[in-house]
Subunit: 356 residues, 2 copies
DNA sequence: AATACTTTCGGGTACGTACCCGAAAAAATT
DNA sequence: AATTTTTTCGGGTACGTACCCGAAAGTATT
């Protein structure tokens, strides 16, 4: 219907070659900083390129090039304790299947959330390969920062998902606003309790560093009550083991000390363990708020043991992370620094409509 | 370095042609539902296409095709009253200059925020052309809904920016969470006032329909105080004229009736008019909160007449809207339904670091 | 059965860039 | 001055798809 040639006269290597009175191949050599061009011609061509502000046609470039961009994904493995990371994995796979035909290849590396060592081992493995981009869940702050630095040195772009480490020159962060989600949790909780009542914050995570992200949620949670001068007593417990019996033990202790706790905020998906405990302990109804759309959590949501789940589209996070890298590498198109995901509130009533 | 052919054997029209024992051209005819193919061969080819789940290579397709995708942008014109829409316009232009070489063309249509008629006239103009996608600021609810319906009929994807009309089957919405931003405004205000004090909400907009979006901010604003059981008295004034003298008149009236107002929340960028009034009236310091990074607003921010501006990256909204359409049309890649922009708080201290 | 017309199809070129291969030119070595 | 070596460069093909043009096959008309 429309004819391109009528409209825009696209200016490409051919035109540059014509103006410089050389062949396309020579222009190409200059563009790719390859050797085999006399200094004089190089200068001349570079000047023309600058003059006309040449922008390569990425479509043609990708089509002709045999180069394959290799992306690495580093996220926690799915464990028996939580299958949260299944969703991001799906997002990665979905993105890959969409773009692999354009010369993108994704390698997935999994680490154990309970082991910094496994994280480090995987980063080493990634860096030993020749990689063009990284998608990363920076669960361990220090190690991730170090990894990011090494990537920066090698000029490898990296994207954070799920939790952010600000000011790390990442290409972007795609995920929740942790503070806000904690704040929201408090807000929800506030509907169910009255002043002077006791609430419990539970952080469950083996590695202390990993804890840091949970703390940001906790911070938001506390901030809410401060902001609203609500005299709520917040009891807090850190549980450093993720197996149920350890959790049970810790919770038993807390509740014996504070039998008047009325609500529990669990800063990650381990809320199901808390729910299990609450059920088994046969306690009166507590208000439970936690994270993530996991089968086990949903089952407790159905039974109304859990009241709210906060969820932030884990699948889409990873999907968009990969796409962002693709965009960046192939289209050289600017990518927004931060992509906060909507903070979704899942209840018994709406869970069946939720899509990750 | 890497060689594609080693790895993935891409399966394309050529392979289909080989299997069907026809030429590439015939396969192409089937793919594009063109005429000139015997029913029998068509069936056969369609079967093969389905069997191998053929996915066309968009890069090659776009490169070879002469088709130009025409996008229309419909946003308010920059008026003497507010230059807010300059930023989105820049975003559009930036996006266009990035992707025009891939066969995307953008036509910008501007309407008068004070005239529904102008909006309708422009939508008609847009629909009379053969358009492949629309970026739209749905300032007038009813008219926009109607326009969206007509686009849907024609299977033209459309993206909302700046304000959303949910459940309208838009490709996506990119912009602020209006309610939350009002909520935030209340939150900020809450720091500066004590209980029992009076605050003023000002909606300034000629067209009542346009008002609707302002109301969502107001709703968020009120919600905050409800949520926190703050006994704040909220006075409200709707101003249906955007010239300063009308605003002045209305405000004078309000303040004479309520001389004890301590803070003002203006639900859009017209906050500068309020600031001007406050200065001229020589009132004691009021807490002023409004919207948008405009020159005039900033000047009042510097003088501390305005305390906070809430801003949501108007340029990036439009930029990302265009890119989303491009993605959708060319890459057939899924686009997230909602892209909420960060809610940025601009103060005297940080405004110089802000980027739209 | 010859002609005209319609339908069906394939060859081939183009899109803009990447990159191979070999030729020409320049420089270095005899 | 003849040669080898090195540097510089251009022709040409490929990427996967779109689409033009003309040929072959089929159908209708005399």
């Amino acid at each position: 219907m429309n004819n391109k040639s009528e409209e825009t006269y696209t200016i490409g290597v051919k035109e540059i070659a014509r103006r410089a009175n050389v062949s396309i191949a020579t222009v190409d050599r200059v563009l790719h900083k390859r050797t085999g061009v006399a200094e004089k011609t190089r200068k001349k061509i570079e000047q023309i390129i600058k003059d006309i502000n040449y922008q390569p046609n990425m479509l043609a470039s990708r089509l002709a090039s045999k180069k394959i961009y290799e992306l690495s994904v580093l996220i926690p493995q799915v464990s028996k304790e939580t299958d949260y990371w299944e969703a991001p994995l799906h997002g990665v796979q979905k993105a890959e299947s969409e773009i692999n035909k354009y010369g993108i290849k994704v390698h997935t590396y999994l680490f154990d959330l309970n082991s910094k060592a496994s994280f480090i081992a995987q980063t080493d493995k990634i860096l030993s390969r020749n990689i063009d981009g990284v998608l990363l869940a920076p669960s361990f702050i220090e190690e991730s920062t170090h990894f990011a630095l090494r990537c920066k040195e090698k000029k490898i772009p990296y994207v954070f998902i799920n939790s952010d480490i600000p000011n790390q020159d990442s290409l972007c962060y795609i995920g929740p606003d942790l503070m806000k989600s904690g704040y929201l949790a408090a807000h929800l909780m506030n509907y169910g309790i009255s002043t002077q009542e006791k609430v419990l914050v539970v952080n469950i995570s083996k590695e202390i560093d990993n804890h840091h992200h949970l703390l940001r949620k906790e911070e938001g949670f506390r901030r809410y009550f401060e902001d609203h001068q609500k005299a709520v007593e917040i009891v807090k417990v850190d549980i450093r083991h993720t197996d149920y019996s350890s959790i049970e033990k810790s919770l038993k202790e807390v509740f014996s000390q504070h039998p008047d706790i009325r609500a529990v905020f669990t800063t990650n998906s381990r809320i199901s363990s808390v729910a299990r405990f609450v059920e088994q302990a046969g306690k009166e109804k507590l208000l439970l708020i936690g994270y993530d759309f996991l089968k086990e959590n949903i089952s407790y949501l159905k039974k109304e043991t859990i009241d709210f789940l906060i969820c932030q589209k884990p699948e889409e996070q990873a999907y968009r992370g990969i796409i962002a890298l693709y965009q960046h590498l192939l289209m050289a198109s600017a990518v927004g620094k931060v992509h906060y995901m909507p903070i979704d509130i899942i209840t018994k009533e709406n869970y069946s409509f939720y899509s990750n």
